[in-house]
């Protein structure tokens, strides 16, 4: 193919300057061709028909299937598997607790399958990673419900994600038991299908601690209180629940800091708290921020008489992360591995077998959610995604009191559990339950707190 060669390069060159250069080498064109075709082909595959999307995940591409539905021992049982869809933050801001919840779900599924399944059917967990993104949570559950057509759904982690996901579940008339949404806002939305799988909602987490403080003689009580709270509905729920009670009882709030979720530098916030000299510090935290705050407090030499943080100290890796500074730190907790509650010992043993370590609150909440679901399915004797079955399950749970590893649970019409959280304290490098002063207690509360 001969090309007429232009002998007027300058003018044409100016015109052509911003277009594709005329001499596109052959191999480059082939490259482009290949890539374009590949991309279009992939796009076609992705958007084609439902069986392609479904088949893609059921395909014996075991590599991609394995991380999504962990081996839960369901292969030996006969009968159609009961497929349970969950979206969890396995990456992103909430990935640590997200994985914890996943471990809890998997432990539950494994134990159920080893005991013969539900209604003689094995249980199969199907996971999606939402990266802590509420938008992804919505599309994940939509994909699970309408494309994967799972039989049941269980909730994700963190109050923020639960709000978004519960809406999708409700629109699809599905039961929504969730292990991690405790913020007050969740129960004010008017959801009729939602149940929280833990003893109490966020703003009542600290009830026992408040009672303890009020029971102290007046001159021993901490007089001033400082708050540093993550801008997150759960963290704020716990901290401000306590704050409301303390302020009503006359305790002075000397400083109240709120910080955004991606805050990693706590030196200045800690400086403000330290400068206030508060005797009681309340942290509304997740994990990383609790560690960051404690380190910053250590650097500044701030020593409150009592310090409590939500979430962070309940995780087993907390002690290592703060070095030796964990001694005396309080935290509200819904679960204790040493509590003598039905099914707890078996759960702890199985968890240790699978994951090598004691289960914390997040896996326990996941397991509890599974327990509630199992109880309902066994009682109502159906396990499909039809609105009738789902409504029967909902109605049953609404009126029942179900025994779980966190004690007997029952709910009000908005899904709020009617129990109360315990208070734990790190003592001698171990988590001990110090409140309430009943049979769950394992040690006495140490006050004032030793220096960190």
């Amino acid at each position: 193919m001969s090309r007429p060669r232009s002998h007027q390069p300058s003018k044409d060159a100016v015109r052509r300057r911003s277009t594709a250069s005329p001499a596109v080498p052959r191999r480059r064109v082939r490259w482009l061709c290949l890539i374009a075709l590949l991309a279009v082909a992939l796009a076609a595959c992705g958007g084609e028909d439902p069986t392609a999307a479904e088949g893609a995940s059921e395909e014996p591409a075991a590599g991609s299937e394995a991380p999504e539905s962990a081996a839960t021992g369901g292969e030996d049982l006969e009968g159609e598997p009961i497929r349970i869809g969950v979206s969890l933050p396995l990456t992103g801001d909430f990935s640590e607790p997200g994985k914890g919840v996943q471990n809890g779900y998997d432990t539950w599924a494994t134990m159920v399958n080893e005991a013969g399944g539900l209604l003689d059917r094995p249980v199969e967990m199907i996971y999606r990673d939402d990266g802590s993104d509420p938008n992804r949570v919505i599309s994940d559950y939509e994909q699970l419900i309408t494309s994967e057509e799972v039989d049941m759904v269980l909730g994700p982690f963190s109050s923020r994600l639960v709000l978004a996901a519960a809406d999708v579940a409700e629109r699809n008339d599905m039961l929504f038991i969730e292990p991690a949404g405790a913020a007050p806002e969740i129960f004010e939305e008017g959801f009729e299908n939602l149940f929280y799988a833990a003893p109490a909602v966020a703003d009542t987490h600290y009830d026992y601690l408040f009672e303890y403080i009020m029971a102290l003689p007046e001159d021993e009580r901490p007089a001033t209180v400082a708050y540093a709270v993550l801008d997150d509905p759960f963290a704020q729920g716990t901290a401000y629940g306590l704050k409301t009670q303390l302020e009503e009882a006359g305790f002075e709030t000397v400083t109240d800091e709120v910080y955004p979720p991606d805050q990693t530098d706590f030196a200045a916030i800690a400086a403000r708290v330290a400068d206030s000299g508060a005797e009681l510090f309340v942290g509304g935290t997740q994990f990383e921020d609790s560690v960051g705050l404690i380190r910053a407090f250590q650097e500044l030499g701030y020593q409150p008489q009592m310090a409590t943080f939500s979430t962070g100290p309940t995780l087993p890796q907390f002690s290592e992360a703060v070095g030796g500074a964990s001694e005396g730190i309080l935290s509200p907790v819904g679960y204790s591995a040493s509590a003598d509650l039905p099914g707890n010992a078996e759960f702890v043993a199985k968890y240790q077998e699978l994951y090598d370590g004691e289960p914390g609150e997040d896996p326990a909440n996941g397991y509890t959610a599974g327990q509630i679901l199992a109880a309902a399915i066994e009682e109502v004797e159906c396990a499909d995604s039809s609105p009738e079955c789902q409504q029967q399950l909902i109605d049953y749970i609404r009126g029942a009191e179900i025994e779980t590893i966190v004690g007997p649970l029952s709910w009000d019409e908005a899904g709020r559990p009617q129990g109360a959280h315990m208070i734990q304290q790190w003592l001698d490098g171990r988590i001990e339950i110090v409140l309430p002063d009943t049979e769950v207690k394992t040690a006495d509360l140490v006050y004032p707190k030793p220096e960190w």
Binding site: M1, R3, P4, S6, H7, Q8, D12, R15, R16, S18, T19, A20, P22, V24, R28, V29, W31, L32, C33, I35, A36, V40, A43, A44, G46, G47, D49, P50, A53, A56, S57, S64, E68, L90, T91, G92, Y127, R128, D129, G131, D133, N135, S139, E142, Q143, T146, S147, R160, L163, A164, D167, R171, N172, E185, D231, D232, P233, V258, P260, P261
Partner: protein, 338 residues
């Protein structure tokens, strides 16, 4: 002058468009319809971006600032004032467009790399404002926008399929008109050489700011529709560099100098990335894939797919004929305008 072949092309395009518009009626399930709406949204957003990026050459990596603004304005108005969703999205677009005039006045004082920096900063500024102004926006916990009506997910997706389609067509028409107009010529002059254009008397500031504002306004409408569709706004994810980068990637992939370039880019990237997300699950591998795709596009076909394919077609096809040798050459290599 529309020739016979281009009339055929227009007719074919119209028929294809009509067929595609019937997709909601044949979509197998709500999830696949959701993917289609998502793709349409990005088609509209990328085309809106291209009104600024493709015509002026000013690369804005921060268009998600306008997306987020549109989303929040719409969301807040619907939640606090009870106004209907869809008209509010349009109003939000206008409001944000006006705001963009002010922003553009400052931001367009610099060019090239600095302009990119400024647009990135814009995203973060609004992200921080949305998070910090808790009383107004709900802070980091985000804003819940009531759904458009008591409809099933399938119906909601259908409504927004058509809403985004309408927005997309409008954006296309706007790009097309600007491309042909005096404004467009001025913008392209700015793209080629801004100082010379200014010396020649082109009102560069006014033109740049206009393009910026129009592009921002459209993007904001997209954001408003998104708020009405998704009902959950989280500042971190709505004011996110990734949305803006996706818009740029799609426009680039398809070809920034072409009307349908951004749309083509969106049609390729959105289903592909959903597919990867479902298959691989892990968000991180998705990031690697996006990064690789972007790097490949930039290094190997920076003008996008459309020019690459048409270059291919020209090489394979018969050589252009003309009685003048030099114009035959330019006839084949001059920019393809639709």
């Amino acid at each position: 002058m529309p020739s016979v072949s281009s009339r055929w092309r227009i007719a074919a395009a119209a028929i294809a468009g009509a067929v595609l518009l019937m997709y909601p009626l044949v979509a197998p399930n709500a999830y696949l319809l959701y993917v289609a709406v998502f793709a349409l949204m990005y088609m509209a957003l990328a085309t809106s971006w291209n009104i600024m990026g493709g015509l002026t050459g000013y690369i804005s990596l921060g268009h998600s600032a306008f997306f987020g603004l549109g989303a929040y304005v719409t969301g807040l108005a619907v939640t606090r004032l009870g106004v209907p969703h869809l008209p509010m999205a349009v109003v939000a677009g206008v409001l944000v467009g006006v705001l963009a005039i002010a922003i553009g006045y400052v931001a367009l004082r610099v060019r090239g790399a600095s302009f990119v920096i400024v647009t990135i900063a814009l995203v973060y500024i609004f992200n921080l404002l949305a998070q910090g102004w808790r009383d107004l926006t709900g802070g980091s916990t985000g804003l819940r926008v009531p759904a458009i009506g008591d409809l099933s997910r399938l119906q909601i997706h259908t409504v927004f399929f058509y809403a985004f389609a309408a927005m997309f067509l409008l954006a296309l028409a706007t790009w097309w008109f600007i491309d042909r107009s005096k404004l467009g010529m001025g913008l392209k002059a700015i793209r080629e050489d801004e100082d010379k254009a200014q010396a020649l008397g082109v009102p560069t500031n006014a033109y740049k700011i206009s393009a910026f504002a129009i592009s921002a306004g459209f993007t904001a409408v997209g954001g408003g529709l998104y708020a009405a569709w998704f009902n959950a706004l989280d500042p971190v994810f709505v004011f996110s560099i990734i949305i803006g980068a996706n818009m740029v990637l799609m426009a680039l992939l398809g070809g920034v100098h072409h009307l349908l370039g951004p749309a083509l880019g969106a049609v390729i990237v959105v289903p592909a990335s959903e597919y990867f997300l479902v298959q691989l699950g892990e968000t991180q591998i998705h990031l690697v894939a996006t990064g690789l795709l972007l790097a490949i596009v930039v290094l190997v076909m920076p003008d996008g797919i459309i020019p690459a394919l048409s270059a291919l077609r020209r090489r394979r096809g018969p050589p252009a004929a003309s009685i003048r040798e030099s114009s035959a050459e330019t006839a084949t290599t001059s920019r393809v305008t639709p």
